[in-house]
């Protein structure tokens, strides 16, 4: 019996291979996007973990200074009091091969690091590391770039180091980073004495950080990965709409079959079990295909993601994707769980199916205006719950709000469409028009899920593109302010920088020095810049808020300007005092925007910076040309000082580079939002095809009344476009709300900067055209089928009528 029942159930798919294909494809698409995002995140996480394992003994606690470096005297005092520690000096080093992360350890006491202990050509690294000349151990690509530059320390290669990291002895790091002995952190070694004097009693301002707490790439990139995950989840939800639509449809279509099987004596339990089994097999098939597709998608997206992570966060990320059990299993689990969720309604109906129910009482009819109201009420509740999640704040709260808003509005869509079509019907005068709107309203319940998917994807696209567009506009304007100089020069040494300055000043150009260093502040890196007192800064620097005479006080070494994200992170406002380094205290004179920088940044007067860090290299200068300056300036300089091309960067080149990094960052988001739109278009196609069988009895009378098949097909196409238009109209405000949340809630939480919102009507139009194209494409297949339908089929409708 069971076998026969199974064959009968499966025969449905044999007769409707397209429907089967839709179900599996819908599931595959949903799983694919989710899996792709998870695979990318997993790859990045494993790259961070590898990097951490290679450079940081994470299993050991660390001591850091709350207000900057750990003085060498503090280390000595701790050691004499019995603390067993290994000192570390690390920071960003402007190497001849670009800026790299320099990690200086004491190889005698540091917990074993493979890169330090390896042998090269039978030689131990230790003597080289401890030698006077020093040894820099770098990953393969970087080592080659470093060794091509003439410089002091020897170079060794180690594949055991993450990209962009150079390992060396603490003395070499001290020299290259101009630290004067001050330490970045102290590794607390295992086997401490039982009774140790408290840290704060030995040296105030030191903090013991538990093992595993890190300010490594994980902390900086968490927001980026959360963004990706949110997107993956959204795509998955959209994909599930397809699954839900197809499964419900198949259940409806087989209602007669179920009834027959039950009447023939198949227990309800067996029927449900068979249907559940069928669903699970499809979930596995769709999920498996989805994982494969996801893997391929991730492989395509990976270089972009890696470039973003490297460019924006200096985070290490590989360029090859490996199959990992975590995201494969998570993908399959999501596919199974999602399918069950999407099919639960259909299964529940089968479970409650009365044996003698009338076959014609289609469930589609249940989605009347009443149920649309109920849905809308649920939607309102979801939106309110989301808004409540916003109150405690935080990134997760922001995303919960977004989720509530999107889901809530989607649930309100059927009611909104219902009302809109009723309004339109009232204004319709011709009988055909009245029929059109009435028919459209009647079709709404069957299409509403697909339309919800469309709404979500459209709103997301609008929201994301508005956010990215607003950001880009602000960023471009900010670049113009920030990069006001015509040329940025890096001289070979301080003396040459001085010569260049004189040469340029004789030719009417203004030359301003650029000096910076990096210091830890409350466990996170802080960039400290010194600026000259010059009109160019006063006029151009992108200051958000500033006290009066801010620049005067900065120039006098009494005040400091801080970046927006630094201010947000530490709840700092103009007028408060800040001690960025031990024994320093400055009044915060203003806050400026510093987009795209994951690190905190502050600006001091250059004389103050020189006082604090007397040994900083003075090789970089910014040149502001005047009418008297020879043009092109870089050509003239190259001739006069035989400077290599890489030593001079024109303002335009720098801007191009910055914008390229920026665009790459949003490439992934845009790609994902377009893919989501494709999935939604596919959902519409599924729904329309699903309705096909039941359309004929509704269209046949019109045909009989003299409306040609061609006109009916056009009307069907128009129906799809009308629904898309209505949905788009609702998607616009939702998308803008989404953009607002992204700009004003998510961005400040995730990156530390808030952005003004700009409108992009042209982009919306493009998106709407794309959506209508997708809808037209989805409606075209059934419309063409209708157009080509033999008259006998339409006539047959009347023949089959009882």
């Amino acid at each position: 019996m069971r076998r026969a029942a199974l064959l009968a159930l499966l025969s449905h798919w044999r007769r409707r291979p397209l429907q089967f294909l839709l179900l599996v494809t819908g599931l595959a698409l949903a799983t694919a996007l989710w899996t792709a995002v998870q695979a990318l995140n997993s790859e990045a996480r494993s790259a961070y973990a590898r990097a951490s394992a290679q450079t940081r003994p994470l299993e050991l606690p660390q001591i850091t200074a709350e207000a900057g470096y750990i003085p060498i005297e503090a280390y000595a005092r701790l050691a004499r009091e019995g603390w067993r520690l290994s000192p570390v000096i690390e920071g960003r080093w402007r190497s001849p091969a670009g800026t790299v992360q320099l990690l200086g350890i004491d190889p005698l006491t540091h917990p074993p690091l493979a890169a330090a202990a390896e042998r090269q050509e039978g030689q131990d690294r230790l003597p080289g590391l401890l030698s006077e000349r020093g040894l820099l151990v770098a990953p393969p690509g970087l080592a080659a770039a470093l060794s091509s530059a003439p410089m002091g320390p020897e170079i060794a290669v180690s594949a055991e180091l993450p990209p962009g990291t150079v390992l060396t002895d603490i003395a070499t790091a001290d020299r290259l980073l101009n630290r004067n002995g001050a330490l970045s952190r102290l590794v607390v070694l295992p086997g401490q004495p039982d009774t140790l004097p408290a840290l704060r009693r030995i040296w105030p301002g030191l903090a013991l950080n538990a093992a595993g707490s890190s300010t490594g790439p994980e902390a900086l990139t968490a927001s980026f990965h959360l963004n990706l995950t949110a997107f993956g989840l959204l795509s998955f939800a959209v994909g599930l709409f397809i699954v839900h639509g197809t499964v419900s449809l198949a259940a409806e279509q087989r209602r007669g079959l179920f009834r027959t099987l039950r009447a023939m004596g198949l227990p309800q339990r067996s029927l449900s079990a068979l249907l559940l089994g069928e669903l699970l097999v499809m979930a596995l098939a769709g999920g498996g295909t989805g994982i494969l597709l996801g893997y391929l998608t991730a492989q395509v997206l990976l270089p972009g993601v890696s470039a973003t992570l490297a460019g924006l966060f200096s985070a290490p990320a590989g360029n090859s994707l490996s199959l990992r059990a975590d995201w494969i299993l998570a993908g399959l689990g999501m596919a199974l769980g999602g399918t069950l969720l999407a099919g639960s309604q259909a299964l529940w109906q089968v479970w409650r199916l009365p044996v003698l129910a009338a076959p014609g009482a289609l469930a589609w009819a249940r989605a009347s205006a009443g149920s649309a109201r109920r849905l809308a009420a649920a939607g309102l509740a979801a939106a309110l719950a989301g808004a409540a999640a916003l109150l405690p704040g935080g990134l997760a709260g922001g995303f919960a709000f977004l989720g509530g808003l999107l889901l809530g509005t989607a649930l309100c869509l059927p009611l909104a469409l219902h009302l809109a079509t009723r309004l339109a019907a009232r204004r319709a005068h011709s009988p055909l028009a009245q029929w059109f709107w009435a028919d459209l309203r009647a079709q709404l319940p069957g299409l509403s899920l697909a339309l919800m998917a469309l709404l979500l994807s459209l709103a997301t696209s609008i929201g994301v593109s508005t956010m990215a567009g607003s950001f880009r506009l602000t960023f471009t304007a900010w670049l113009d302010q920030r990069l006001a100089a015509d040329l940025y020069i890096t001289a070979r040494n301080d003396a040459q920088a001085q010569e260049i300055r004189l040469w340029l000043e004789q030719r009417g150009a203004a030359v301003l020095p650029i000096r910076s260093t990096e210091s830890p502040f409350r466990g996170a890196p802080l960039e400290i810049y010194g600026v000259a007192d010059h009109q160019n800064y006063r006029e151009n620097w992108p200051v958000l808020t500033a006290a009066q005479d801010a620049w005067d006080r900065v120039a006098a070494g009494q005040g400091v300007l801080i970046s927006e994200q630094f201010a947000r992170r530490h709840s700092l406002t103009t007028g408060k005092m800040l001690s960025p380094l031990p024994e320093t205290s400055y009044r915060i004179e203003g806050i400026y925007s510093d987009y795209g920088n994951p690190k905190g940044q502050i600006i001091l007067g250059i004389t103050e910076l020189d006082r604090l860090f007397p040994a900083l290299p003075a090789t970089r200068v910014a040149v502001y040309a005047s009418a008297a300056t020879p043009q092109p300036l870089d050509g003239a300089l190259r001739e006069a000082f035989s400077l290599p091309g890489s030593a001079m960067i024109r303002q335009s080149g720098l801007k191009e580079r910055a914008l390229a990094v920026f665009d790459r960052t949003f490439l992934i988001t845009r790609a994902l939002s377009l893919l989501t739109l494709a999935v939604a278009g596919f959902a519409i196609l599924t729904s329309l095809l699903g309705q096909w069988d039941r359309r004929l009895p509704q269209l046949a009378p019109l045909w009989a009344l003299g409306v040609s098949r061609g006109k009916l097909a056009r009307l069907d196409l128009l129906r799809s476009l009308a629904l898309t238009s209505l949905t788009s109209l609702l998607a616009l405000p939702l998308g803008l709300a989404l953009a607002w949340v992204l700009l004003k809630v998510i961005n400040p939480e995730a990156f530390g900067w808030s952005l003004p919102m700009h409108m992009f009507p042209k982009g919306w139009m493009q998106l709407f055209i794309l959506a209508h194209l997708a809808a037209a494409l989805a409606a075209a297949i059934p419309a063409i089928r209708l157009f080509r339908l033999p008259a006998s089929h339409l006539l047959g409708v009347f023949a089959h009528e009882n």
Binding site: A117, A171, D174
Partner: protein
């Protein structure tokens, strides 16, 4: 990986004589790398020479004590600070080429436990200052209220032990070899070497959580050089023995492919010292440890002075297994003299 680090440090501290001697020019005053070399006839000056000599490649402050606990059971402690220079000279900060290593141990007949500390020079975490005298690495220290090392205060601790000792010198300082110039081989390798063999010690030792008061005798060795060993020398056996007659004997065998090079000095109870010319001190292994790799009983003879004794390890398993491995432990003396002392053996593992 740990093993590799050990090997590396061994290179720094112990294996260097091979390169040093190969590159060095004995008698010319400095090695190829610019390290100073000991010269015969240089008068040692105190308290100056209690302090580090950063122009020499290696140096140590080496204290051993034979003690008895409250029950009268014998016990030994070691407190050593090694200095090893990567380059001659010193500077403040991380650029200092000086590396410091501390070894401390407690040994009884049944227990031997030890610890090591490493630190870079120039940072204040380790080093030696002359006035008042202080030698320290981390929280281990050997300090003196005076500059002549008359009285010493000593502390160290490890995972299973800690000790705190007060030492008072009963005899004057002893200059080893030729007025402190100690020849280490017939090729002329030498070191500066002086000792204070006559400390009376009191204090407390905590071993495996159990504290006990101790009393006994202690011996301080001070030595610095840049190339004391010849490349073909494989290790040494070094004895510091305290006889119940009041005499003290320091003697060593530098083992090599040819017959070992021996030297030493005999210190009378009044403190007068007789250098022992090469060959007059002999030490022959008589029994080996259960593992078979190191002698734990020796026949020690100085025929010219009628000394013929058997020196036996209190605990055969007194291995110091840290950055480099050597054997260091208390010994008992029997034969035509009785007494106690310390034995150090290197190059067996």
């Amino acid at each position: 990986m740990r093993t590799r680090f050990r090997a590396l440090i061994t290179f720094l501290i112990l294996a260097w004589p091979a390169t040093a001697a190969a590159q060095g020019y004995a008698g010319l005053g400095s090695t190829a790398e610019g390290f100073a070399l000991p010269e015969r006839g240089t008068a040692l000056q105190f308290p100056r020479d209690h302090s580090p000599h950063p122009d020499f490649r290696i140096e140590w402050w080496y204290l051993t004590a034979n003690l008895k606990d409250e029950d009268g059971d014998p016990m030994g402690i070691q407190w050593t600070l090694f200095r090893s220079a990567l380059r001659p000279g010193d500077t403040e900060g991380w650029a200092s080429p000086q590396i410091w290593m501390g070894h401390a141990a407690v040994t009884t007949a049944t227990r031997h436990t030890s610890a090591e500390r490493l630190a870079r020079g120039g940072t204040g975490a380790a080093g030696v200052t002359p006035a008042p005298f202080s030698a320290r690495i981390g929280d281990w220290h050997m300090t003196s209220p005076d500059t002549a090392l008359q009285n010493l205060f000593l502390e160290a601790s490890g995972d299973h032990f800690s000790y705190s000792l007060q030492l008072a010198a009963q005899t004057p300082l002893i200059l080893q070899g030729d007025r402190g110039y100690s020849v280490k081989y017939r090729d002329g390798q030498a070191s500066y070497y002086y000792s204070q063999p006559g400390y009376r010690a009191t204090g407390t030792v905590t071993l495996d959580g159990k504290e006990t008061s101790v009393t006994g005798k202690a011996w301080l060795d001070r030595e610095w050089s840049s190339q004391p060993l010849s490349p073909d020398q494989t290790g040494w056996d070094w004895f510091s023995l305290r006889f119940d007659t009041g005499e003290k004997l320091m003697g060593f065998v530098l083992r090599g492919p040819r017959e070992g090079f021996t030297s030493g000095s005999l210190i009378a109870s009044d403190g007068s010292t007789t250098p022992l010319p090469p060959g007059s001190f002999t030490a022959l292994p008589q029994a080996y440890s259960p593992s078979g790799d190191v002698p734990v009983a020796w026949q020690v003879q100085v025929p010219d002075h009628g000394i013929d004794v058997t020196v036996r390890a209190l605990n055969p398993d007194a291995w110091m297994q840290h950055s480099f491995t050597y054997w260091e432990g208390p010994v008992t003396v029997h034969g035509n003299r009785t007494g106690s002392g310390y034995l150090e053996m290197t190059g067996y593992r």
